[in-house]
């Protein structure tokens, strides 16, 4: 008797589960899946404009992929990767440092509330406005150049934005500033989630702070760390507004600052080339997916996805 009653109850509740998640899937199907399928479809067609006339869509198989791969794909990939790494490495180091300092009760730092809000501020400034500020600061007659040249460090009217590594450094710094607040807060949340008693136990056992950090904190921080790396990676691949504004859309100097998204934008801007743009989008997606899986695998041990009940 009881058994059958229970069975009936669990079955009827199941339906509610479906009802709850249905809106998500319906909305996603309309607004997310359909455009994505359309993009993938167009990537196999020749489809662009000449003036006001549209050419295509004509099926042309993998031609678009070949054009993209022999075109600027690897150049843009290299540029994007370099700028991202230059920005992210300092970013993660500084964020870890800050996160550790802010959560360390023994240091008794004052004014942490002030610092925590201040480091988040660059994130609020729009990338466009941010780029303009840097344009002004590092321009040839700008304050930085004037100051540094009067000390004799660099020649007068030094062209920061016109040199390859200098402009890349600038963009890396901008990326760093915009996102390190975010990263710090996330890492802080991760650290605070670590059981204090573990750290205390390690201290009692005589571990130095460096040992505590590397042997206790970091391993327990892994899930958040993975999340931070992956989201930063995805953000990095989509690096667009900063280089676009700093180089005025040209990817100068010597095309060494063209990023993947800038390449995509050029394809659309010049000739509404949905065919090649679609191919590029698919390639970027595959790249993002592969990288994410790679990072995920190499750092964590599938602890992130905990199956609920």
């Amino acid at each position: 008797m009881l058994k059958s009653k229970n069975k009936k109850k669990s079955i009827s509740y199941e339906k509610w589960g479906y009802y709850f998640i249905a809106p998500f899937f319906i909305i996603y199907a309309i607004f997310g899946l359909l455009p994505m399928i359309s993009t993938i479809r167009y990537s196999f067609y020749e489809f662009y404009s000449e003036g006001l006339n549209t050419i295509g869509p004509n099926f042309n198989g993998l031609n678009n992929y070949v054009s993209v791969l022999t075109g600027d794909f690897f150049l843009a990939l290299k540029n994007t990767a370099i700028i991202w790494v230059m920005g992210f490495v300092p970013q993660i180091i500084v964020s870890l440092l800050l996160a550790v300092w802010f959560t360390n009760n023994r240091l008794k730092l004052k004014g942490t509330a002030f610092f925590k809000s201040v480091i988040y501020m660059p994130n609020l400034v729009m990338a466009a406005a941010f780029s303009m500020i840097f344009f002004m600061l590092f321009g040839q007659s700008g304050p930085i150049v004037t100051m540094l040249s009067s000390w004799g460090v660099i020649p007068e009217k030094f062209d920061f934005l016109g040199k390859v590594w200098e402009s890349r450094s600038l963009m890396a710094i901008m990326n760093f500033l915009m996102w390190y607040g975010n990263t710090t807060i996330l890492l802080m949340a991760g650290i605070m989630g670590i059981d204090q008693s573990l750290i205390e136990a390690a201290e009692v056992d005589g571990a130095s702070s460096r040992q505590i950090f590397f042997r206790v904190t970091m391993p327990l921080l892994k899930p958040i760390f993975v999340y931070v790396v992956i989201t930063s990676l995805i953000g990095g691949i989509q690096l667009y507004d900063i280089p676009q504004i700093i180089t005025n859309g040209t990817g100068s100097p010597n095309r060494q600052n063209i990023t993947l998204m800038m390449y995509l934008q050029t394809l659309i801007k010049g000739s509404n080339n949905y065919g090649m743009a679609g191919a590029l989008s698919v390639l970027i997606f595959i790249l993002t997916g592969t990288l994410s899986v790679f990072v995920f695998r190499s750092i964590s041990k599938n602890e992130l996805v905990s199956v609920k009940r």
Partner: protein, 129 residues
């Protein structure tokens, strides 16, 4: 006693270093914000040919020009942005919570698959737009 003193000196040195570093970061972080405000007080001519770290006096005239521009109605645009962002926040929160609740509370076929699907979607949704 000596060990204690050494420890204290160590801590003070450490703290000084930390504070210095933090203050430097703070200055670098506030600088763009500050400069933006300074820029808003400069006239068009001044912005395109020079830079300044002190406030100038064109804020009022700039503001008036911005408001008077009927081709870029700033307040309408702000209102539109507000409507969209409020709507997005409300809808997203409600539906996400509902979905999460559904996944968590109920046990139904394909739940694991649905969960993994949602995770994948989360990663790629910004990409293909």
């Amino acid at each position: 006693m000596d060990k204690n003193k050494l420890y204290k000196v160590n801590t003070i040195a450490k703290k000084t270093f930390i504070y210095a570093f933090l203050i430097m970061l703070a200055i670098i972080s506030i600088m763009p914000f500050y400069l933006l405000i300074v820029n808003s007080t400069m006239s068009h001519q001044e912005i395109s040919t020079s830079y300044s770290f002190v406030f100038k006096d064109s804020f009022l005239s700039n503001f008036q020009k911005m408001v008077a521009d009927t081709n870029n109605k700033i307040f309408t645009a702000a209102r539109n942005s507000l409507i969209i962002s409020l709507g997005t926040a409300a809808l997203a929160t409600y539906f996400s919570a509902a979905t999460a609740y559904g996944i968590h509370m109920y046990n139904f076929k394909g739940k694991k698959a649905a969960f993994i699907f949602i995770l994948t979607v989360f990663k790629i949704n910004t990409d293909m737009a």
